[in-house]
Every structure is written in structure tokens, then in C-alpha cells.
Symmetry: C2
Subunit: 232 residues, 2 copies
């Protein structure tokens, strides 16, 4: 499987073969699959944006920093997601792995050559934009508890919340692997580490979650959790 997809882009069901494009593009480097340890920086904000990447396995986060060190995690990426796209010459945020991950990098110029790739990009960009808008609501209008509940629900249900066939079984338990430190969760939710910790404790006190490990949350009442998100 690994070798087979080495020169393809993951697309929900279909896979686009990059070989043809690659061969036509003598100057372009071949798509490269890299295995990365947790907390490896893929690129920094401000680096020259020569490569576009796709998550093949594991999780990657994108974040921005303010000069005084405040950090905002702006996106969480899963397998299939593209990152490193930008209109300008430089990356507009930093990219770092959260877990063990495999990432495929390919030459940025490839994007302009293939209309298949272009339409794939368009789709992904639209999805990311939709996710960002949802996140803007969370950051701008939700309380700490609502933010954490929304975060847990998103992890529990997967990111395809729009699919109508996602049926929430009222009393089914879901175990969620966080693979993020409290600090990273805080920086994603626009909170402090202490507030995240307190909110988790509050959820535990109310019997809504329990911890198998610090980074393994058992959600014991999904529909109650859903109530807390503030969303419908």
C-alpha cells in the first residue's frame, strides 16, 4: 500500500496519479514521502513556500505566533488534508506534527499544471474555509466549556459533521485520542492551559467524561456533551 500510493494524492475515494504530471515537469522534484516524529516542524511561518504538503498519516497543526509569544493554533489536519498552499511567496503560518506522521511534499508549481489537482485543491480549500468559519464562531462567541465540548464532539464524530448519515447514538460511548498537550488544546481553543484543565475536571465531575489516560478521553454521554457545545 505504501509503495503503491507513493506518487499519488489521496482524494477521499479516488486517487490522482502524479506521475504523469511529474514526468512532464522535468524541473519539478518528485513527490517525497517523509516520516516525522511528534513535534517536528515541517516549515515556519515566513519560510519560502516552495513545497505543498499532504498529510498521509497522523496529525499536523498549523499555528501563528504574535511577537510576544502568544500562539494561536489555526488548523488541525488529518490524513488527506493539504497544507502549505499560499498565494504569496512565503508560508503564512507554521506547521508542526502532533503525532508520528507521514507527510508527502511536492513542488508547488505542480499545482498550476493539473486541472485535476486544481479542482482537488479548490475542494479542500473550501472545506478548510468552512472549518475556519466554524472555528471563528467558537473563538469569538463561545464560553470555555462550550469550546471544549465542541472540540471533543468534533474529535468524536470526525470532521465530516455535514454528512447527514452521522447518527448520534444517545448512550454510546466514544473514546477520543487527543494526541495534543493541554497547552496545544488551549492554543487551539483560545484559552489558557489552566482553563482547559479546569473545564476537563468539571466535565469529569459531572460524569460526562472519564480519562483512560491523560490524552484518552472516554465520552460517556454524547448527547449531553452535544448540549454543551452551544451549537444546535
Amino acid at each position: 500500500m505504501d509503495a503503491q500510493v507513493a506518487d499519488t494524492i489521496i482524494r477521499d475515494d479516488i486517487e490522482i496519479d502524479l506521475t504523469a504530471i511529474k514526468l512532464a515537469e522535468e524541473g519539478a522534484r518528485a513527490p517525497q514521502l517523509t516520516r516525522l516524529a511528534p513535534h517536528t516542524i515541517v516549515f515556519f511561518e515566513g519560510d519560502e513556500a516552495t513545497q505543498v504538503y499532504q498529510v498521509v498519516e497522523g496529525a499536523v497543526m498549523l499555528y501563528k505566533l504574535l511577537p510576544d509569544g502568544r500562539r494561536q493554533v489555526v488548523e488541525l489536519l488529518s490524513p488527506g488534508d493539504l497544507f502549505g498552499l499560499t498565494v504569496g511567496t512565503y508560508y503564512d503560518c507554521s506547521a508542526e506534527t502532533l503525532s508520528n506522521a507521514r507527510v508527502r511534499g511536492f513542488d508547488r508549481r505542480l499545482c498550476d499544471r493539473s486541472s485535476d489537482l486544481m479542482s482537488l485543491m479548490c475542494r479542500h480549500l473550501q472545506e478548510q474555509l468552512g472549518a475556519m468559519r466554524e472555528h471563528a464562531v467558537l473563538l469569538g462567541r463561545k464560553s470555555a466549556m462550550e469550546r471544549l465540548a465542541s472540540f471533543l464532539m468534533r474529535l468524536a464524530l470526525g470532521r465530516t459533521i455535514d454528512d447527514a448519515d452521522q447518527i448520534i447514538l444517545p448512550d454510546s460511548e466514544h473514546v477520543v485520542q487527543l494526541s495534543m498537550t493541554r497547552q496545544e488544546i488551549a492554543d487551539y481553543l483560545g484559552l489558557t492551559i489552566e482553563t482547559v484543565s479546569r473545564s476537563f475536571s468539571e466535565l469529569r465531575r459531572r460524569g460526562l467524561v472519564s480519562f483512560d489516560r491523560q490524552d484518552k478521553v472516554r465520552i460517556k454521554d454524547l448527547s449531553a456533551m452535544n448540549e454543551l457545545t452551544g451549537a444546535l
Copy 2:
């Protein structure tokens, strides 16, 4: 000029003629230019996404609502910007004019036909995504004053902040037309109307701004204002 561009898409410098695509597409409705009064709803979140729009003149905002009425304005659009794009069947947010505006709507299916249009869309999506990430930092990590200062700076400098040739003259005055109520500004910045008002008053007290009218701000010290944004 109006008639001339009636069937074209504004692209920073170039203009794409939609006529060819339109004619090939007998089922598609012709691009339609509409004149809208301030605070006209173009579409609601949840409406079926049949049309894609482009702002021709004026300003449009995109927002999302929580069931309890909390609102988050997720994007401010200027002439040239596209909106109404979505992967799903339904719009993921509502669109409303802020000022008198002209908007061009065209059939969503056109987007898949033209690779020119596709690459234009890609570019716009990337720009919007970049703007959203910047906004996520504002919402997640900035104080009320920093949010308002960032907002004013963005309006003063225009949205092309990435252009290096934007030189900030230290003591040049900039007059900014808000064309938004305090409530709309608050909903954009993730604050309450009172906090926005207080922050404006604070800026006035410090001599950084004065008001020609409620919605016309004279920024008297751009570099001091820039200091307040929290960004470099």
C-alpha cells in the same frame, strides 16, 4: 463601464469573459448584476447553494448564528471578492450587504467548467483562508483594544497588507469609512457593543482618533495605532 463588465468576472487586473462559458451551458442562467440596498440579505445559511456571487461594488459581510442568537461575522468582503462557494449543497453562512452594493450572481455549475475560473477561485480561496487565519489569531489571542486597533489598521491600509510597497507614513492621517454599526463591528471582533464603544472612546481620549461622523474615523497617528495591534 457597467455594461461592459456585465458578463465578466473581476480579476485584479485581468477580466475573464464568461460569455463563452455561458453560451456553452444552455442550462445555466446568465450572470446577473443586482443592485442592493444596505442590509439586504443575499442568502441565508442553510439555503440551497445554487449561485456563486461576486462583489462588484460596496461591502458584504458573511456571518453565522448560534441557536441562542449569538452572531459571529466571519468575513468582510470588498469588490472583486467571491462568496457563496461551498462543497456541500447548502450555504454555510449568511450573506448581507453592509452598504449600497452591486453583486453579480452566476450559476454554481459554471465553476466546474472553466479552468480559468477554477484557478481564480483557488486564488481567492487561499486569500480568504489567509485572512481567516489572521482573524483567528485576533479572536483567540488579542485583547479588546488590540482587536479594534487591528480592525482599524486593516481598514486604513486596505486588505493587501502583504504587499511590501505599503509604506506607512508615520504622521499621515487616514480617514476610514466604517460602514458598519457598532453591533456589526462587535460581532466581527468577538466583543460586545459596549466594549467596542468604550475602546473607541479610549482611543479618542488618547488622541489617536477623532470622529468626523459616527462611522467616519480619522486615525491621527497610524504608527501609534499600529503599536496597539499586538502584531509586529
